[in-house]
Symmetry: C2
Subunit: 456 residues, 2 copies
């Protein structure tokens, strides 16, 4: 049994995760729509033996709600870029080992289309696809699908659970040896190994079979991110990798234990088959001073109008406009209707750390709730190792402040240290994402049933 090692994902964003990354002198502000930019990022991550690259997604464009100038300045976060499954399909042709985690919502899609597109990407890439299952929290999307309003949280999760069930059923339409290809007899398929699903449920009626056979990894890997109660349940039941956001070791450990215990005790799953990958936002310098300088450089690029708009969840975009940016964050703001927990989190943080308004938006402009790790390469490696060995994480999803610069820093300065400590691979273990993450290949349900009948 080989030593447990850190799994690494690179959470790509066109110019970087800092809100002002696009204004940094080293970034390409047009990267969002430049395939060569993404090809370079994917090939960098692959050369460094990352497990996967990851992208977020939304079925609506975020436009901001402020005035003309604010909209002009916040356009970088609008999300105008490639659709993830098409982008990853293109990247699959110019890479060999790295995995592709594509976000796709269960709220405004049909299981047939999602099952088919991920199965196709998985087959095209030789078994490197993963689906980050989300529900759309963004009401902007609703208006692109002829709906007057946005479905409730609980309703979205019930739909998501059934959606995943249908998709996994469709992925088992073809048993692995369903194709016969016997030119002499004219037999192309074994009809006993091609199966209809005939799902009839609360949200979906889907007959099948799917028109795409299984890939070398059986099913695309199922990824999830939600930390709410229904999010944890769905993750414990179906997720194989979890992208979490935790600030403290204790919170991360509690989440890690909770999800792995639920998976084992409630759903009879092997807890090693769920990889928990908290997000980390690394600011790396050859010296402490260089790391501080890098942080300062991005800090100075935050436009105050953008900064205040990042605090809109405190009570609307204008809530703080009449306060002194360098004074304390007021604690007596009226409670918001639609993002209570986010408002609470920010107010508590500001009180605990005694932050000014400017300091609070600078905090949000960086890691956006993810853990900031900051310092020299050795210190960064220490911070990762601590969480890894204390069962707070099986690996990390890296949110670089800028791309490609922040990723290159991590690869050049931190990865060699992790390798030296035996914490990260020097070569891929497998050609599939499942193989590299150490996840089992799900046996086709119909093949399993046949085996069970035979041994009964």
């Amino acid at each position: 049994m080989s030593k447990r090692q850190i799994k690494l994902g690179a959470f790509l964003s066109p110019t970087g995760h800092h809100a002002a990354a696009w204004r940094h002198p080293d970034t390409n502000p047009a990267g969002a729509t430049d395939f060569e930019h993404f090809r370079k990022l994917a090939q960098l991550a692959e050369a460094a033996k990352f497990d996967a690259i990851f992208t977020a997604d939304s079925d609506g464009l975020w436009r901001g709600t402020g005035d003309r100038t604010l909209r002009a300045k916040s356009g970088h976060s609008a999300g105008s870029s490639f659709e993830p499954i098409t982008l990853y399909s293109a990247l699959s042709a110019v890479t060999r080992n790295i995995g592709f985690v594509a976000t796709a919502s269960t709220t405004y899609n049909e299981p047939w289309h999602i099952a088919r597109k991920f199965a196709s990407l998985d087959l095209l890439s030789g078994g490197r696809a993963a689906w980050n299952v989300v529900t759309s929290g963004n009401a902007n999307a609703a208006y692109n699908f002829g709906l007057g309003g946005h479905p409730e949280h609980a309703d979205r999760y019930r739909r998501a659970e059934e959606f995943v069930e249908v998709v996994k059923g469709l992925w088992d339409s073809w048993e692995d040896d369903a194709h016969v290809y016997d030119k002499a007899s004219g037999i192309y398929t074994d009809p006993d190994k091609l199966h209809e699903l005939n799902h009839v449920g609360e949200y979906f009626n889907v007959k099948g079979p799917l028109s795409v056979p299984r890939s070398p990894q059986g099913h695309p890997v199922i990824v999830q991110a939600g930390a709410s109660e229904p999010g944890r349940e769905l993750a414990a039941k179906t997720a194989e990798a979890i992208f979490a956001a935790w600030q403290t070791l204790e919170d991360a450990q509690a989440f890690y234990r909770d999800v792995k215990n639920r998976a084992a005790n409630k759903y009879g799953r092997n807890p090693d088959h769920i990889k928990i990958l908290p997000g980390v936002y690394p600011v790396i310098g050859r010296t402490e001073q260089e790391a501080l300088d890098k942080k300062e450089q991005l800090r100075q690029l935050i436009d105050p109008e953008i900064g205040l708009s990042l605090l809109a969840s405190l009570g609307g975009s204008d809530a703080l406009r009449d306060y002194d940016l360098d004074g304390p964050v007021p604690q007596d703001l009226p409670e918001t209707n639609n993002n209570k927990s986010r408002q609470r989190l920010l107010l508590d943080l500001a009180a605990r750390e005694q932050l000014t308004i400017r300091q609070l938006y600078e905090w949000v402009a960086g890691a956006r709730g993810h853990r900031v790790i900051h310092g020299t390469p050795d210190s960064i490696a220490d911070q990762l190792e601590e969480w890894f060995v204390s069962e707070a994480a099986d690996g990390f999803n890296l949110l670089a402040p800028t791309y490609p610069g922040g990723l290159v820093d991590f690869i050049d300065l931190v990865v060699p240290i992790l390798r030296h400590r035996g914490l990260f691979r020097t070569e891929y273990e497998a050609a599939t994402l499942r193989g590299n993450l150490g996840l089992a290949i799900p046996e086709n349900r119909h093949t399993a049933a046949r085996h069970a009948r035979r041994s009964a």
Copy 2:
């Protein structure tokens, strides 16, 4: 003004268009799910300077209705392969000039998803995407989307028309110069050049804007195939390329005139901006005898059970089971309910050509209604030139009997003759599909409106 030249598309299918192609000794029966196979086909067609490759699509798997053996033998036509937009996205990364015509149905999709995926492919490929707009004639698909039955023909076409209108509207969300990218001032977009659609119609309410900017060709090319009355109307109104199936020069000329006249007179369009590309099924030999031998080789590979199943539209899969395969096609079969025109076409053909049952299914097994061109390379070139110069075609969509063999034959033997006659390009004229097809770039509607306001 340069001389008018033939436009060429290669209609790919995994092993070829002949029903027995997968049993041919030269084909790879697993090609349907082998990306390298498609990469080779795309690169062959690109090296020969074809305008585009084309694939069909369905949102349901065709499974046949016969017994176990028949289903085993007809599995090759089930359609288990890559989803076209993912396949083309992957191919876009390993090609530079060839266009990609992806079929996608308006019946079981949402305009947002189709607009977004084609826009993304168009941007990834640098302006080489085309959307073949179809309505789903296949009731199998309905059962994958929770619907009890299949919508009526007229209803499907009304939905298709509105669907295309919404998609084109979404493609104009961003004006071409909407991105400013000014790092110094922090201005990323010009908010006056990003537009909501706010479509409210019979089938769709879609707010927009789309999250993908325009590509170098403005919009993906709109392709259509229907020859019915509503199909012709939709084509005259919106199509920029038409894939048609005609047997005789006269029928093809009449269709060509009809669609171009409707486009010009009813919709005020430039008839040169609709390219009509009938399907042709070429059987090519260095000598007439070699062409006959090739035809015979495939003919002998047709399993009689498969052959009879291809005539199911004459009255169900068992309608002809008690007749002598080498006797005449009976003309007194009961009229079918759901494919009257196809039944009539086959019975008329059998009567006119005095075909036996075996000869009729052999005809269907080959070109499936498309024009068969057969003979030496010079004769093939003559047959193409005749239709091209007599305004029956602006080019052709090639249905090779086998892949890659049939495509290689055409490229090696026929393309040089077309070039020698000045009928086909020696180099691409442009980097975009629109540029190679000689189609205009549609001006963004909002930019056009601003220009109109200024000059008013």
